[in-house]
C-alpha cells in the first residue's frame, strides 16, 4: 500500500511527477486519436481503432468531437505550463498546492469525461463533468492570478540584472501576471459562445466559416478565442523558457516591457473583434503581436549569445566554427529558442505571406484549400509548443551525454522535418498544378509521418523509461519528489 502511496505522491504531488502524468495523458490521446484521421484513416487503421476501443462516432457530429478533442489536449498543456510557473516563480505554498491540485483535477476530468462524451456515446453526465473540469481550470487560473500578484513587496527584485521598476516591481513577474490575467479573460470569450452554441447543439469550426462577410458576434468571439488562447500559450512558454534559462541583462530589460505591452495590446485587439471596432481590430492585433515577437527574438539573441560565450570560454579567440559548435553543443538549451525561430518559417512567415497575397492568390483557390493552410499552420504552432515542452522535460529528466544529444537532436530534427513538410503541403499549389500534386503529396506525407511517427516513438520510449523507473525503489522519481524547477534554473 505504501508502495502505491509513494508513487501516487510523486505523480500527483511533485512538479515533475505532475508534468510526467500530463505528458503521458497527451501522449496517449495523441497516439490513439491520431489514428482516426489522415493517412491512418486512408489505410483503414481508423476503423480498427474504432472497433477495438468501442467508440461510437457518427459523421454528423465530427465538429463537436473535434472541439472537445482540442480542448482536452489544450487543457493538459495549460496544466503543464501552470506546473512550471508554480515551480519556477516564488509564491505562497498554499497557492502552489491549491492551484496544482485544482488544475490537475480539472484537466483530468476534462480529458477523460470530455473524450468519453465525445467518442464513447453521449452520456450527458460526462458532458457535465467535462464542463465542471473546464470550470476548475478557470478557477485555478484565477488563483494563479492572485498568486502571481506582482505588486507584493515580497516579490520585488533588487538585482539590477533583471527588468524591474524603480520601486522594484519584477517586470518578468508582471509579464507572467498579464499573460495569466488575459488568458482567464480570453477563456470567457470561448465559454460564453460555447455555452450559447453548445446549448443549441450548433457546434461549428471556425475554419468552416472563413470568407463569409457577415459573422455573428458569437462567431467572432469563437474565432478570437481560439486564436488568442494559442497565442497566450505561446507567450507563456516563451516566458517559462526565459525563466528556465535565467534570461537577464539589458535584453531582459528591453524584452519584458515589450512582452507586457504586446500581450495586453494583442488581447485588446482580439477582444475588439467582437465589438464595433472589428474593422480595425486586425491592425491592433498586428501592433500587439510585434512587440511580443521582438521580445521572443531578444530572448533568442541573449540565449544564443550565452551558449556561445559559455561554450567558448576556454578558447581565447574562438573561430566562427567553434562558436557554432558551442551554440549547438546542448540541444536541450538550444532547441527551445531554435524552435521559436523555426516557427517563423512555418507559422508567422506563412501568416504574413497569406495576408499579403490573400486576394491575389489564396482566395482565388477554393475555401477548402485555404482551410488547409489555416489548420495546418496552427497545428504546427501547437506542435512546436509541445516540442519545446519535451525539450525542457528532457532537461528535467537529467539527461546527460549521448542520451541528451540523441534525445534533443531527434526532437528538433524530426519535428522540423515534419513541420517543414506540413508547410510545403499547405503551399503546394504555389509549386505544382492541382492535377499533378499527388507525387508531391505522397513525398510530403512520408516526411510528415516519418517525423511525427518517430517523435511518438521517442515519447513512448521516454514514458516507458519513466514507468520502469517507477517500479524501482530508488529510482529517479525519489530524487524528483521535492525538486523545484526554480532550483534548476541556469546560473
Amino acid at each position: 500500500m505504501q508502495l502505491i502511496k509513494d508513487r501516487f505522491n510523486y505523480l500527483f504531488g511533485s512538479t515533475k511527477g505532475l508534468i510526467l502524468v500530463a505528458i503521458a495523458m497527451i501522449g496517449i490521446v495523441t497516439a490513439v486519436w491520431g489514428m482516426l484521421s489522415g493517412p491512418m484513416a486512408e489505410m483503414g487503421v481508423r476503423e480498427v481503432v474504432i472497433k477495438l476501443l468501442g467508440m461510437k462516432i457518427v459523421q454528423a457530429e465530427r465538429e463537436g468531437r473535434i472541439v472537445i478533442l482540442y480542448h482536452s489536449i489544450a487543457m493538459a498543456i495549460i496544466a503543464i505550463e501552470t506546473y512550471m510557473i508554480t515551480s519556477l516563480l516564488k509564491m505562497k505554498p498554499f497557492f502552489k498546492i491549491a492551484i496544482n491540485a485544482i488544475i490537475t483535477v480539472g484537466y483530468i476530468l476534462t480529458m477523460i469525461f470530455g473524450m468519453g462524451f465525445a467518442y464513447f456515446g453521449h452520456n450527458w453526465a460526462f458532458h457535465g463533468i467535462y464542463i465542471f473540469g473546464l470550470s476548475l481550470i478557470f478557477f485555478a487560473g484565477v488563483l494563479l492570478i492572485i498568486a502571481l500578484w506582482p505588486w507584493n513587496p515580497e516579490y520585488y527584485v533588487t538585482d539590477k540584472e533583471y527588468a524591474h521598476t524603480k520601486k522594484g516591481v519584477d517586470l518578468e513577474r508582471v509579464a507572467f501576471f498579464a499573460t495569466a490575467v488575459t488568458t482567464v479573460i480570453s477563456a470567457l470569450f470561448g465559454a460564453v459562445p460555447g455555452s450559447y452554441f453548445g446549448n443549441g447543439f450548433e457546434t461549428f469550426l471556425a475554419e468552416n466559416i472563413i470568407r463569409l462577410p457577415e459573422k455573428t458576434t458569437m462567431e467572432y468571439s469563437i474565432i478570437g478565442h481560439l486564436h488568442i488562447m494559442l497565442a497566450l500559450i505561446c507567450i507563456m512558454i516563451t516566458l517559462i523558457i526565459g525563466r528556465w534559462l535565467n534570461f537577464k541583462g539589458i535584453l531582459h530589460k528591453v524584452a519584458m516591457p515589450l512582452m507586457i505591452l504586446g500581450t495586453i495590446v494583442l488581447n485588446l485587439g482580439v477582444w475588439g473583434v467582437v465589438t464595433p471596432l472589428e474593422p480595425v481590430a486586425h491592425m491592433v492585433i498586428y501592433v500587439g503581436a510585434t512587440p511580443s515577437m521582438v521580445a521572443a527574438l531578444l530572448l533568442l539573441i541573449w540565449s544564443w549569445g550565452k551558449l556561445i560565450r559559455e561554450g567558448t570560454a576556454h578558447i581565447q579567440k574562438p573561430s566562427f566554427g567553434q562558436k557554432i559548435g558551442a551554440l549547438l553543443r546542448d540541444p536541450l538549451k538550444f532547441g527551445p529558442t531554435w524552435q521559436m525561430l523555426f516557427m517563423n518559417f512555418t507559422t508567422s512567415g506563412i501568416g504574413i505571406f497569406m495576408a499579403i497575397k490573400l486576394d491575389e492568390v489564396f482566395r482565388v483557390w477554393p475555401a477548402r484549400e485555404e482551410r488547409i493552410e489555416l489548420t495546418g499552420h496552427w497545428h504546427v504552432l501547437s506542435a512546436i509548443v509541445a516540442t519545446i515542452i519535451l525539450l525542457y522535460f528532457g532537461d528535467m529528466n537529467g539527461f546527460r551525454g549521448k542520451l541528451r544529444q540523441w534525445y534533443g537532436w531527434s526532437i528538433i530534427i524530426l519535428s522540423d522535418i515534419a513541420f517543414g513538410a506540413v508547410t510545403v503541403f499547405e503551399m503546394k499549389r504555389l509549386f505544382v498544378p492541382e492535377a499533378e500534386q499527388q507525387p508531391l503529396v505522397n513525398g510530403l506525407m512520408y516526411a510528415i509521418d516519418f517525423g511525427l511517427g518517430m517523435l511518438m516513438v521517442i515519447l513512448a520510449a521516454l514514458l516507458v523509461y519513466r514507468l520502469i523507473d517507477l517500479f524501482k525503489n530508488k529510482g529517479r522519481w525519489i530524487e524528483e519528489l521535492d525538486h523545484e524547477l526554480a532550483r534548476e534554473v541556469d546560473k
Binding site: R211, P213, P439, N442, A447
Partner: protein
C-alpha cells in the same frame, strides 16, 4: 553511416515527389446504365437544411439526376459556338455574363458585365478537345462529369438549355430528402458509396496521378469488374450528390463574389462529402474536381 542512409532515403523520397504525372494514363471504361439526360422531380415543401438542420422550404423543381457529362458539355459547346452564344478567345472559350451588383465589401471583387471564361482549352487536365471547328471528348471520359469548367461555364450551359444552377437549398434538398441524413444514402459512408480521396475505386492510383473522376451514376449497386458498389442514390434518385466532383451552385450572395460548391469530390476526405458542407471559390476558378448539374422550375 546511419546518417548517410537517412539522408539518402529522404533524398530518394523527395526525388520521387518530383516525378512527372501522366495525366493521360489509360482509364477503365464502364457503362453505368444511368441516363444523364434524366431529371428528378422534387416536390415543394419543407426539409432540413444545413449542419444545424434549420427547417427551410422550396418550391417544386426538377434537377438532373447526374452531373453534366463531358459529352453533354461538348455537344453544348458545338451548338453554342454555332449560335454565337460562346466564342473562342485565345486558348479559352468565353461567354457573356451580365455582371453582379457590386457592394464594395472587404475582399469583394467586382464581377462586371462582359465575356467571362467558360473553359480553358489547352490545360493538360481538360478533357474537351477543340480542333478549330468541333469539340470532342478525350477517349474514356465521355460519361464522366464535365470538369475544368468555371462557374460562368456552368451557368452558361444551364441557361442555354432554359435551366439554371441550383440554389444551395435546392441542391441540398435534392440530395438529402426530408430527413436529417448526412449523406444521400444515409448516416454513414463506406468506400463503396462514393468516389472520395483514397477510396480505392478503379479509377485512382494514389502512387502516381491520385484520384480521378468516375462515370456519372457509377455508385448504383452494380459490380464493375471486381469492384462492387452500393446503390448510393439520394431519396429523389440523384447520383453523385456526394463525392466525384464538387458541384457549382447558383446563389450570388450580397457582398461576395465567391460562388459556392457542394458535395465534396474525389480529392476530399469523406467528411467533406456530408450534404451540408460548403466550399467556395472565385467564379473563374476551374479544377479537375469541380463540375455541376442544372435545375429547372416546374
Amino acid at each position: 553511416m546511419k546518417g548517410l542512409f537517412l539522408n539518402f532515403s529522404l533524398l530518394v523520397a523527395l526525388l520521387a515527389s518530383c516525378a512527372p504525372v501522366d495525366l493521360n494514363a489509360a482509364i477503365p471504361t464502364f457503362e453505368t446504365g444511368v441516363d444523364s439526360n434524366a431529371w428528378a422531380q422534387i416536390p415543394a415543401g419543407e426539409f432540413y437544411f444545413g449542419q444545424h438542420e434549420d427547417i427551410e422550404t422550396t418550391e417544386a423543381y426538377e434537377i438532373m439526376i447526374t452531373d453534366v457529362t463531358a459529352a453533354q458539355y461538348a455537344d453544348f459547346l458545338n451548338a453554342a459556338l454555332a449560335d454565337n452564344y460562346v466564342k473562342t478567345d485565345g486558348g479559352q472559350i468565353v461567354g457573356f455574363y451580365p455582371g453582379d451588383k457590386f457592394h464594395a465589401i472587404k475582399h469583394e471583387e467586382e464581377i462586371k458585365a462582359g465575356d467571362w471564361i467558360y473553359i480553358l482549352l489547352n490545360d493538360p487536365s481538360q478533357k474537351i478537345k477543340f480542333d478549330g471547328t468541333t469539340f470532342t471528348v478525350q477517349t474514356g471520359f465521355k460519361n464522366h462529369p464535365m470538369t475544368m469548367v468555371s462557374w460562368f461555364g456552368a451557368q452558361g450551359y444551364c441557361e442555354y438549355f432554359n435551366s439554371r444552377l441550383p440554389t444551395e437549398m435546392e441542391w441540398e434538398k435534392a440530395g438529402r430528402g426530408t430527413d436529417e441524413r448526412s449523406f444521400p444514402w444515409g448516416a454513414e459512408i463506406m468506400r463503396e458509396n462514393a468516389n472520395f480521396y483514397s477510396s480505392r475505386d478503379p479509377f485512382e492510383d494514389m502512387s502516381t496521378f491520385g484520384s480521378r473522376t468516375s462515370p456519372v451514376g457509377f455508385y448504383n449497386g452494380q459490380k464493375y469488374g471486381d469492384f462492387q458498389t452500393q446503390d448510393s442514390a439520394s431519396p429523389y434518385g440523384l447520383y453523385d450528390m456526394a463525392g466525384n466532383v464538387w458541384q457549382w451552385t447558383g446563389d450570388v450572395y450580397e457582398g461576395m463574389h465567391y460562388r459556392f460548391m457542394r458535395g465534396g469530390s474525389k480529392d476530399t476526405y469523406d467528411m467533406d462529402l456530408r450534404l451540408w458542407v460548403r466550399n467556395n471559390a472565385t467564379p473563374t476558378y476551374f479544377s479537375p474536381g469541380v463540375g455541376f448539374r442544372c435545375v429547372r422550375d416546374k
